[in-house]
Symmetry: C2
Subunit: 344 residues, 2 copies
């Protein structure tokens, strides 16, 4: 019974025996190395397909000292941003022949960082993409120190990291665009609902909002600011709080589209017409935002592309390392743009 489900796996030795060649020759055929005659190659190939031989990737990794694996540290796939990022990463990785080891860290568990680090090292990842946008400083440095000797790291959506590449969307610029658009449309009392302020991207978006107000000589006081958590619910609650603490409010920059949706909902409940009584701009340009009522004006950025770039950058560095060349990490910033619709 057990043997029915567990037929011994076909190994390279059996293929070699059947084909009447050495193990090494089979290896050469499998890996497409030269130095094997067409004739034997064909014979070996035939045996391989007949026996349905699949090289054992684990043994291969051990022998060749290369795992063909990239580690990805992320916060999950539920939010739009991370999901886009991971999609891009996954696509580019499989295109380049890398396997992915996905590590989701739970911010609630303080020693999750250690678990993740241990996993990455023990699985011999050859590179790491840090797509977890928190900046606690302390923990990151520890992570950095532990991983760096083993594998190069590319950071996404983070502040500058000495010695490593950081790829970013220019959140600050995007937020500035959004806010300037509100100003251009005549709004003067512009509040902001930020993301969780522990996140670099949320901080940057707030700074962009400040930039725009400052260069228009408009005030930005703390009562114009409410911190949200990216959810529509927090956007809704955020607007309620804003109008309470800042009654002259006539526009809101919501730091993502979900929160903007919440703002639209709350505005409706308050009897404030958008864009007439209240201007709203979001961030992300999620596919649904065009179908909000009114259609949401928002900031578009190419997160999927950012994910792809991260893999390519890592690939480049790893290749260079393999060839013994010194690899210089190159950071990069992608520019977002404004998508004007009806909400402002």
């Amino acid at each position: 019974m057990a043997n029915v489900n567990h037929p011994r796996r076909v190994t390279i030795r059996e293929v070699a025996a059947q084909a009447g060649v050495s193990v090494q020759t089979v290896s050469r055929v499998v890996n497409g190395h030269p130095d094997v005659s067409e004739e034997t190659r064909a014979r070996v190939q035939e045996v391989i397909t007949r026996l349905r031989y699949r090289p054992n990737g684990i043994a291969r990794s051990l022998a060749a000292q290369s795992s063909q694996m990239l580690g990805v540290v992320a916060s999950g796939f539920q939010l739009f941003g991370p999901a886009q990022l991971l999609t891009g990463i996954e696509q580019q990785a499989t295109e380049l022949g890398w396997h992915l080891m996905l590590q989701i860290v739970d911010p609630a568990k303080p020693n999750d960082y250690d678990r993740v680090t241990a996993n990455l090292i023990s699985q011999n990842v050859e590179g790491v993409i840090w797509a977890y946008p928190e900046l606690t400083g302390e923990r990151e440095r520890a992570f950095h120190q532990q991983i760096q000797p083993h594998a190069p790291i590319v950071f996404l959506s983070m502040g500058p990291q000495p010695g490593s590449a950081v790829l970013n969307v220019d959140n600050r610029y995007g937020a500035r665009l959004a806010t300037e658009h509100l100003i251009a449309r005549g709004y003067r009392h512009i509040g902001i609902i930020t993301g969780p302020m522990a996140l670099w991207s949320a901080q940057q978006r707030k700074l962009g909002w400040q930039d725009a107000l400052a260069s228009a000589k408009l005030p930005h006081r703390s009562r114009q600011v409410v911190e949200g958590d990216w959810s529509a619910a927090s956007g809704d609650a955020g607007l309620m709080k804003l109008v309470a603490q800042f009654p002259q409010l006539d526009a809101v920059f919501a730091s993502n589209d979900q929160m903007a949706l919440g703002v639209l909902k709350a505005a409706d409940r308050l009897g404030r017409r958008v864009p007439g009584d209240l201007g709203v701009v979001g961030f992300d340009d999620i596919p649904e935002s065009a179908f909000f009522k009114p259609a949401l004006t928002t900031v578009h950025h190419e997160l999927m592309e950012l994910g792809r770039l991260a893999v390519r950058e890592l690939h480049r560095v790893i290749q260079a390392k393999r060839e013994g060349k010194p690899a210089t990490a190159t950071s990069l910033v992608l520019q977002p743009w404004l998508v004007v619709r009806e909400s402002a």
Copy 2:
């Protein structure tokens, strides 16, 4: 230069040498085996932490003939359903100590199935979760045949699979609930916007809609049906098409919430009030749906829980197999429920 970035990894041998014991003893300490005195255990442990030794997972997998790895085949993380599923899978997997090998298959590429299959086998996954909801029949069978000898499979959101467990949300029942609710509210000309009809879940939801209409002795003609692609855009276009081909339409069951949002948008443009002139019910209960205008009545299901269950089921089967016991695959269906809000 190269050596600066590539400090030789600490191996078990070095630990053994430093601690003055055999390699085997270190192995025992690392794996928490008994039969090692407290004294030597402490000594070894000390060396381990001092040298920052991390066991090489790849070597371990090869020697122990167990990869600690589960394969997950999915369509991506962009849609709500898959993202929820994957979240649950990931959580439960790490709780149980499994690593995940995520394989995204691109429906556009016909031989992606082969690539995925080859990857899973070559990495020696000990179990597979098939979370890719397409039912092409042909391809699945091939996959099944190739993987099954190596590892047990659990299918998600699929029709019955002989010999394997299938975990499902009762989509048919959920859709029936939604449609019955519309009928109960007095709507009589109920259209449906389906998901891509190649998907089992989309088919089931359509059947549920039919069930409800049939038992209320209401007709369900093909002009009441439009096929969407889960996107808000297709929901918008879907309603336009429905009103054109079925003018008496007074309610719509949208097979997911995004499409429902599109329907709301199109209804607004057509000057149809919801729920007054048009009843709308969705499916999924995405967090945003409560903030649609009007708040969406929809069907709630526990996809995350389904993902967790899938891992547990696989775990159970694998454990049984390891202990030589025959494992019987147990399928399971989760019941969704209706969340009544304002759109019907």
